[in-house]
Amino acid sequence: MSRKQKRMLVRIISSAIFMVILALVPVTGLVRLALYLAVYLLIGGDILLKAARNIVHGQVFDECFLMAIATVGAMAIAIWDRSGDYTEAVAVMLFYQTGELFQAIAVGRSRKNISALMDIRPDWANIEKDGQIVQVSPEEVAVGSEIIVRAGEKVPIDGVVTEGSTTLDTSALTGESLPREVTVGDDIISGCINMTGLVRIRTTRDFGQSTVSRILDLVENASSRKSRSEDFIARFARVYTPAVCLGALALAVLPPLARMIMGLNPVWHDWIYRALTFLVISCPCALVISIPLGFFAGIGGASKAGILVKGSNYLEGLSKVDTVVFDKTGTLTRGVFEVQGIHHSSMPEERLLELAALAESASNHPISKSLRKAYGHSVDIDRVRDIEEIGGNGVTAVVDGHAVACGNERLMKRLGISCIGCRSVGTIIHVAVDGEYAGHIVISDVVKDNSRKAVDELKNAGVSDIVMLTGDSGPVARDVASRLGITSVHSGLLPADKVDRVEALLHERKKGKLLAFVGDGINDAPVLSRSDIGIAMGAMGSDAAIEAADVVIMDDDPLRIPLAMRISRKCMSIVYQNIVFAIGVKLICLLLGALGVANMWLAIFADVGVMVLAVMNATRALFVNRL
């Protein structure tokens, strides 16, 4: 509780005590009025003052004004009737203040909880000075200096490990619970938690440019892009309060006048009281508070799961996506080539792979790298000699005294060796040993483990069109697509073609539905910004992706896309629940108030109760673990 809130609490408690005493002490007449007025001013003085000040500043309709009118009105009725029943005005003010205090505390607390969840800001960095480890603020560390991160500490600044190795917990950044191993020479990203050993890091960026600062900046500014629901509420609140005030005025004046004309007793006092009840109900607090809070919690929850949403408008938009366009390489596939199979081998497959890996040992081509990786052992260069690389064909070399040729069909033709074609899709590497065909190795990009599941889940989530765009050739693209269950494929596209394709799809989409493009963010920036919602994957550390995309998925798991949609839908349903609930209860209370069923007490309880429930409901958007 802040100091202001504590002061308020004291005021509330003391005026409550005074009210009880006044109810017990039998004073009457003017003394009674004076005592009640004193309590009234004690609890509601600031409200009256604020209402007056706002009127001077030309801002009439706000809740202070409503409360002031309602309670002063109730007081006046009590004086007019000479009933001596001043309790109601004081009590309404008391409950109103209690509600306000409660609201401030509840909102402040959920605000803090959500912020705490997103708190990945490192407080210090350790540097070595004269053989001593000193803590300095991360802002002070220059690029290229060496920092020390002990076990249990957060990595404060991006850099490269220069000494030691350790296990990192990246869950705060990616939502991924699997720890990551790093050792000397590896890049290390700020915001991770060092779990096991001490490492020294040479920083490659300053603190402001480091991943952790950029992410915090992004999340904190996320809610500044307002969603349509928030805009709706802001507009609603602007119309609502004046409308209810006019309603109250009409309720106070019209029915009694009508009764007078009909020759009945106008019962002014009754109708004015009903109008005052109207005013108490009219505060739009629950709405104005719970809707932004819901979005804030939703964005917080998503970022816990490694999904950064850049604004409430995008969180809202995600729930309306019915077309998802995927880029293939790096998004659905890993973008790393792997050996898929060895066919027609005239020797043990391991031996064929070994010969190929050795022959290709000098090459830096991704295919050679993947061969060496599949071979798995370190390559002994002494076993290889006379390496000759024939550009666009392959490699010939002498391995263990055998002449080995490794390459595509063209190489085999050139050497006059007949080769066996392959029906598998991918890059085929034919191998010949001592002039004899020895079989071929199929290499292709690997589909990510979760891609198929992600596509299925998207279909289940009601995404009607899933499209894959790729620069790859037709057969490879169709093969990947059929394995993933994607029916719509466009292959052989240049980056500019992708923009055209997406624009065509944007024209086709149904009204009220949105198109999301998922890419790895590196060369997709134009498409990411052109689509309704651009989702960049595997973006940890990539500035370009964080800039261009609307939604950033920190690791490269495609399953996070359906998860993001589920988070968005949950958040939106909470927001709609709150809108319907808050407006609904208010309307019912207004009706009951107009009919004279609800009195001021009920009105104030309805107001505070709806607010508290709506705030609690909004906080629910934070919990995304079981989605």
Binding site: R111, S115, N221, S223, C285, I289, P292
Partner: protein, 73 residues
Amino acid sequence: MTKTYRIEVDCAACALKMENAARKTDGVAGANVNFMTQKMSVDFAEGCDHRHVMESVRRNCKRAESDCEVYLS
């Protein structure tokens, strides 16, 4: 140019009022109040002294909602 300032405000409706007040201030091209993070980001018009403008933003916010604070540093 956009700058972000720390603010103190108690309720979301008051934050809305501050936002409107800031937007109407001369020299402000756009303003956004984030109640949740208690921050106000102000987009200044070309060629305005942001310190000078923020003084009036603060004054206007106080006028719209007496119970608020804008920290200018």
